[in-house]
Structure formats: C-alpha cells, structure tokens
C-alpha cells in the first residue's frame, strides 16, 4: 500500500510549490536597491580597455543601464528593442557585459547592432553583485542624482519599454 501512495505524495509536494509559485512573479524581484544610489564603479570599456566608464560621468542625466552577455538567450529577444530605442535618441543606454569574453561580446554587437553609447566589461561579476544582478538581462533606470529608479528583470519587452520605462524616463528628465 505504502509504495503506491508515493506518487500521490510527490505530487502533493509539487502542488505546494506551485501554489507558492502562483503568488510570485518571475519577472519581478523586489530589489532592495531601488531608490538607493547606484554603485559608482569604474570599469574598462569593451571597445577600448584603456578607457574607463563610471556612473559618475552620468550625474545630471537620466540613463539606462543594461546588463547583458553574449551567452544569454533572452538578451537576443530584447536586443532589437534596445537598438530601436538607441536610434530614437530618447535616452542614452549604457551596457555592462557580464561574465563574458571580449571577443564574443564584440562579435555579438557586430551581429545584432550596437545600441550602447558605451559598454563596460564586468568579467568577474564583481559590479554585478553591487547592483544585485540576479540573472541576465537586467535593466536599470538611473536618475539625475544617481539613484536607481527602476529595475527591469528579464528582457525589456515592447510593453515594458513603452508602458513603464519610457514614461518614467520622461518624468525623471523633467525633474
């Protein structure tokens, strides 16, 4: 009798998890960093490692900070949307290439187009920790004072861009 109950027990445990899962949104992780100052790193640029980029350079501007990698499948989904966005010139997009190699990252940008004003390399993921990167891709909206105003987990979709990110950017730009 007991061994015939096993499938039922396994199933019920799974249901428990699924029930908890229902109340979680896989795309929304409440980031403790929203509303906090963005970490002021200084990292070498992808195109020219001799140059560095730091969020300090961006104080006074609203900008997007997109974490990506050439090994990331979901980044392919959002990439055309970022390319479109960069053409529109509404807001500058800076990229951080996360745990990646320079060669592959450059090839990726050649293939899909480069939407970034500049991309920095976070080879060991150290800066990723400061930003609370859970997975790639993630995108941060950073305001004029250097505070993280919003964090998009997962790819930037067309809806997310037009319904959340761009209205927020416009609001922040007028502040």
């Amino acid at each position: 009798m007991k061994r015939f109950l096993l499938p039922l027990i396994i199933f019920l445990v799974m249901v428990g998890f699924l029930f908890i899962g229902l109340n979680l949104d896989p795309r929304e992780v409440p980031s403790p960093l929203v509303g906090k100052p963005a970490s002021m790193f200084s990292l070498p640029r992808l195109d020219d490692p001799k140059q560095v980029f730091s969020p300090k350079d961006m104080l006074g501007k609203v900008w997007l900070f997109n974490v990506w990698a050439s090994w990331c499948g979901a980044c392919r989904d959002e990439h055309p949307i970022l390319v479109e966005l960069s053409k529109s010139g509404l807001v500058p997009v800076y990229g951080m290439d996360y745990k990646d190699t320079r060669e592959e990252a450059q090839q990726w940008l050649q293939q899909g187009g480069n939407p970034y004003v500049a991309t920095v390399m976070d080879v060991d993921g150290r800066v990723g920790i400061d930003y609370g990167v859970y997975g790639v891709p993630e995108t941060y909206v950073i305001d004029k004072t250097g505070l993280i105003a919003y964090k998009q987990i997962g790819p930037v979709t067309y809806e997310a861009l037009h319904e959340k990110i761009l209205p927020l950017v416009k609001k922040l730009q007028t502040q």
Partner: protein, 658 residues
C-alpha cells in the same frame, strides 16, 4: 449575434459535459443500463456544441468582428486570411477552446469505436473524459471567455503576435494538442479500469491503439514545433529546453514508456500497476504543461497573458484530476495481481529498464523545469536552468536507453541468455564501434561525444538490420511474401527504432560539424564557408500584407557553379512595431545552408550570419520515421477495423478544425 451563439453553445456544452461526467459513471457503479447508455449520445452532443462554438469564433475572426475582445487582441484587418483563422488558437482563450474541441473529438471518437467494449467500461471511459471536459469548459466560461464583447468595438485589431504568423502556426498547435489531449483516452481507460477493478490484458489491448495514435500526433507536433523554431527564430537552433518545449517533451517521454509497458501488459500480463501509473502520469504531465504555460509561474518565449485567478483555477483542477487519480491508484493498485514471472535476463527486464530510464529522463526534465520555481518559492533566489543542465543530465540517461534498444527486440520473453544475445549482436557491435572510430576522422575530427553519438546510431542501425535478417531468413518463399507475413506492428517497431537512429545521427553530425560565420558584407562582396562562396547581392525593400521588409539575397556558388540563392528578410510588423527575422534556408539531405540578415551598418553594408548545418534535416526525418512507425503499428491486422474508424475520427477532427 454570432459570438453570443458561440457563448451559449459553450454553456450548453458544459451542462452536457456535466451530465456525461455524472450519469454514466453512477450508472456503471449501479449497473443501470439506461444511465450507462446515456454516455454515447451525450459525448456526441457535446462534440456538436463545442464545434458550433469553435466555428462561431472562427467566423468572428474571418469577418473581423472587433467587437469581440479576443478577436481584437489577436488579429488585424491586414492579417492574411489563413493566419486570421489560425489566430483562433493564437491566444490564451482560443487555444483553450481548441483544447476543449480536441478533447471532444477524442471523446466522440471513443464513443464511435468502442462497440467491442463492455458497456460499463465504455460508460466509465466516456464519463471520465466528460469530467475533464467540465474542468476546461468551466475554466473558459469563468475566467477565459473567448466570446467576451468589447464595447465600444475596436476600429482595428492589435494583430497576431508576428512570431506566430507562420505556416507552422497552422499545424503545430493542433497536432500538439491532438497528442496532449489524446493521452486523456489512455488516462480515461486507466481510471475506468481502476474504478471497475478490471486491470487485465484486455484493458491493455484496448488502450494500446489509442495511446499509439496520441503518441504519433505528439511526435509530429513536437517535430513541427522544433522545425518552426529552427527557421523562425533566426539563429539555427532546433531545441532550446524552453519551459514550454519541456512541457510537451515530458508527456512524450512518458508516453513512449507507456507504449512499451502496454506491450508487456498485453503480451505477458506483467507491469500492470506500473502501466496504469504511466497512463496517469502521461496525461497529468500534459495538464501540468498547460498549467505552466498559462499560469505565468514560469517565464518562457511562449508565455500567454497571465492572470493569477487563472493559475489558481488550473492548480485546483490539477489537484482534483491528478491528485484524485493518484489517490485512486494508491487505493486500487495494491489489489492488482503481479502477472507473469520473468527472469533477470529477458525482454521484460530490458523493457522495464527502458521504462525506468525514460521515466527518470522525464522526471529530470520536470526537475529542471521546476527547479527555478522551487528555489524561488523557498526564498533562495532566482536562477535559470539552461541547456547545460539538460545536456548534462540527458546524455547519460539516453545512452543506456539507446543501447538497450538494440538488445530488447532480440531478447526472448520470460528467459533469455546473455551469451546468446552477445553472440548474435557481435557483428552489429563491431560495425558500430568501427564506424564510430573511423567516420569522424574521415569527416574532419573525432571527439568523444561524436564517437558516442555515431556508435549509438549505428548500433541501432546494425542491430535492427540483424533483427530483420533473422526474421526473414530460413524460408523458401519469395521475399515479399515473407515481409507481408510479419505483422505490421513489428515493422512499425523497426521503423520507429530506425527513426531514433536517424535522429541521433542528425543530432550528432550537426552538433559535431556545424560551422557559422558572422560577417559585414557590402553588395558584391563574397564570404566563404564550408567550401561554398556566398556573394551578397544587396538588399531590397519589399512590402508585405502587414509588414515592411528588407530582403537580402546571397548567391551561393561552389567552384564557380551556381547552387542556390538564399534570401533572408528583416521584417518590421507595422501594427505591433515588432521586428522579425526570416531566415533564408536551402535544405538538403546532406546539409542545410542557412543565412540570416542582421543589422544595416554604415555605407550600405549589412551584418550577415551564415550557417553550415550538416544533416540537420535528419533530425526531423527521424521524428517523421518514428511517427510513421506508429502509424504502421496502428494499421496492424488486428486493428484494421479500428484503424478505419479512427481515421474517420481524425478526418472529422480536421473538418471541424478547418
């Protein structure tokens, strides 16, 4: 008016399904012939009512009735007619209607081709299917009504997701659902057998053809989906271990195990409880797949709009259906006899090993799919489990399974001898080892994975060849007579197994020897890959019905001889302002050439990616062979009567969907 008819029809269908789920089952328990007799007419009435609803929705799409919310969100006046019809199942509500529709098709098929079943068995089977239908119809009417009105009506629709505007959309979902939902028949047979306490060889014999039929559809559906991903997503992959792909793959693995285990139960009376459990699991995994896709619990490229109420409804439904049937299993299965005894070395043992491997494989896919959710639920953070996990887990599980595939059919039932099997297969083993060592070197390079893949593929080829040779030799009759004398079910098995070999060969070669380049090309420039020259002929702007596109063409030559032209498009679907890439593919038996247009660069140059994919088509050819094997088994003499009827059932399904 028409949408209201559809809506009303669905409500009536729900009432009929309720009656179907209640009276025949009670009738069977009490031996009431009249109540049992209600099952067939109710099953047919239910089918007619859902078909009316389906046609009403299709009509709303065809006539561009944008006062219906679902039509307005999934179609557009510029959308070509074939996609407007396919858009019926392009969104959440409509694909549920397709699901309910196909369930009613299977139900009506069972009601038509079950004359040889005892009355109480048939009543229970149809009743169980009716109860499943109640769940889906209730779900639709409560939280996912496709006929909901939009007031005021939209001027034009928001268009079908451009990713879905492809011929693949017309075939892939109906095929896949035929497979998914088809396992409901095997499930209903199992539950009916548990309720009635008649788990015997007859039960296995009855449910076998239905299971095979569902498995054939599922195989074809997965094949169509994989092929679609290959040319539509624009980067030449054919399987992504995406949550939704996994949702269709798990029932396939368990369904494959079920087919084999049913064979043992029918022929030898063994594995009864295990077979019932597999039948329950195959359909449960189909339901779970639906839950995963629709509840928003997991993220995926396939994700439908999410609504927590929907998720909760499906979860409750899952608990009732799966939990209920597993509880019934725990209660009734211990009373089932053990069946025929068998030796450690016997065909039964080999089939059991195959079953365990397939079930473990399905479980590991389930684990990989749900693992991110488990961690998330336990508050351990968010991760995503990608192809590395699945590749690592899958190869070690499939290697012994494929190896056993060569041995199982040769071994005798009950008691077999290892030395004898080894003796008989020594040549097959030698040939496959030699091929695995030599062929990759001839093709360019040898790696352990290429060697292993080729060994397994040729092992199945060679052992199948030996099996056929053994079976055909030793008679003076002409070869045709001898071939015909062997049951078609046996040939079906051989062809399906060869399909696995063809598939394995395709996967091994394409993974081992594919190459790609990404280049910046000006018109007139030439790129080189795998001995071919690709001349970029430039890009022209074209206007599609609901998109604008840049079409780039590459002239392919080899040693100066023109071979083909690859034309790849970068489309912009105007309504949703969504870019899409259409790959240019030249498919062939030996290799595919695959080009995909990237981004425009400065000075009229474009980034272009070109892939060389050797034997990639063999992957789908292998799947087609598996399905063909299943069809051949269905056309076996002992099913011929049923086959004709089942075909009519399938035809009806097609008519209803058209």
């Amino acid at each position: 008016m028409i949408p209201e008819i559809g809506h009303f029809s669905l409500i009536l269908a729900l009432l009929v399904a309720l009656a179907l789920g209640i009276f025949p089952i009670i009738g069977a328990a009490r031996g009431n012939a009249v109540w049992m007799g209600l099952a067939r007419p109710l099953a047919r009435t239910q089918f007619l009512l859902i078909a009316v609803a389906f046609v009403c929705l299709a009509y709303a799409f065809a006539t561009m009735d944008y006062s219906v919310t679902y039509v307005a969100t999934n179609s557009n006046s510029k959308l070509p007619i074939q996609f407007r019809i396919a858009a019926v199942w392009g969104g959440h509500e409509g694909s549920l209607l397709l699901w309910a529709m196909i369930l009613s098709v299977w139900t009506v098929a069972v009601s038509l081709f079950s004359k040889h079943l005892p009355d109480d068995m048939r009543a229970r089977i149809l009743g169980v299917m009716g109860l499943i239908s109640v769940g889906f119809l209730l779900f639709m009417l409560m939280v996912s009504n496709p006929f909901e009105r939009l007031i005021p009506a939209a001027l034009d629709g928001r268009d079908l997701n451009p990713l879905l505007q492809d011929p693949g959309m017309i075939f892939h979902p109906p095929m896949l659902y035929m497979g998914y939902v088809g396992f409901s028949v095997a499930f209903a047979f199992a539950i009916a057998a548990l309720l009635g306490g008649q788990l015997d060889a007859a039960w296995a014999r009855w449910s076998r053809p239905w299971t095979t039929m569902a498995w054939v559809f599922l195989t074809l559906g997965i094949m169509a989906g994989s092929n679609w991903a290959y040319y539509e997503l624009g980067w030449g992959g054919w399987w992504f271990w995406d949550a939704v792909e996994n949702a269709s793959f798990m029932p396939w693995l368990v369904g494959t195990a079920l087919i084999h285990s049913l064979a043992v139960t029918e022929k030898r009376g063994s594995f009864k409880a295990w077979t019932v459990l597999l039948a329950i699991c195959a359909f449960s995994l189909s339901l779970l797949g639906t839950f995963l896709v629709r509840s928003g619990v997991l993220t995926s490229v396939h994700a439908f709009a999410t609504d927590p109420r929907r998720g909760l409804f499906i979860l409750v439904f899952l608990v009732v259906v799966i939990g209920g049937s597993l509880a019934l299993f725990a209660w009734r299965a211990p009373t089932v006899g053990r069946g025929g005894k068998f030796d450690v070395v016997s065909r039964e043992s080999f089939l059991l090993a195959n079953n365990v491997l397939l079930a473990v494989a399905a479980f590991s896919v389930l684990l990989g799919t749900l693992y991110p959710l488990f961690l998330d639920a336990l508050g351990l953070g968010k991760i995503s489990v990608g192809p590395p996990y699945f590749d690592t887990v899958f190869a070690p599980l499939m290697t012994p399974a494929l190896f056993l595939m060569g041995i199982g059919p040769i071994a005798r039932w009950k008691k077999s001898s290892l030395p004898e099997i080894a003796m008989r297969l020594r040549w097959a083993f030698g040939v496959s080892v030699a091929t695995a060592m030599i062929l990759p070197v001839l093709l360019g390079h040898w790696t352990p994975m290429i060697g292993l893949g080729l060994f397994l593929a040729f092992w199945i080829f060679a052992s199948s060849a030996h099996l056929v040779y053994q079976r055909l030799r030793g008679s003076d009759q002409p070869i045709i007579t001898r071939v015909k004398a062997i049951p078609r079910a046996w040939w079906g098995m051989v062809i399906a197994h060869l399909g696995i070999a063809v598939f394995t060969l395709g996967v091994t070669i394409v993974k081992g020897f594919e190459s790609e380049i990404a280049v910046r090309m000006l018109p007139g420039e030439v790129a080189h890959l795998a001995g071919y020259d690709f001349t970029f002929k430039g890009v022209e702007e074209i206007q599609g019905p609901n998109y604008t596109a840049s079409r780039g063409q590459l002239l392919v030559t080899k040693n100066g001889v023109e071979r083909t032209i690859l034309s790849s498009e970068k489309r912009l679907y105007t309504v949703q302002n969504m870019p899409m890439t259409e790959a240019g593919i030249s498919p062939a038996l030996i290799h595919d050439l695959y080009a995909s247009l990237g981004e425009p660069l400065e000075d009229g140059a474009w980034s272009v990616r070109i892939y060389y994919k050797p034997m990639v088509e063999w992957i789908w050819a292998g799947c087609a062979m598996m399905a063909l094997g299943g069809l051949l088994a269905l056309s076996d003499r002992r099913y011929r009567m049923r086959k004709r009827l089942a075909k009519e059932g399938a035809l009806k399904a097609n008519e209803a969907l058209a």
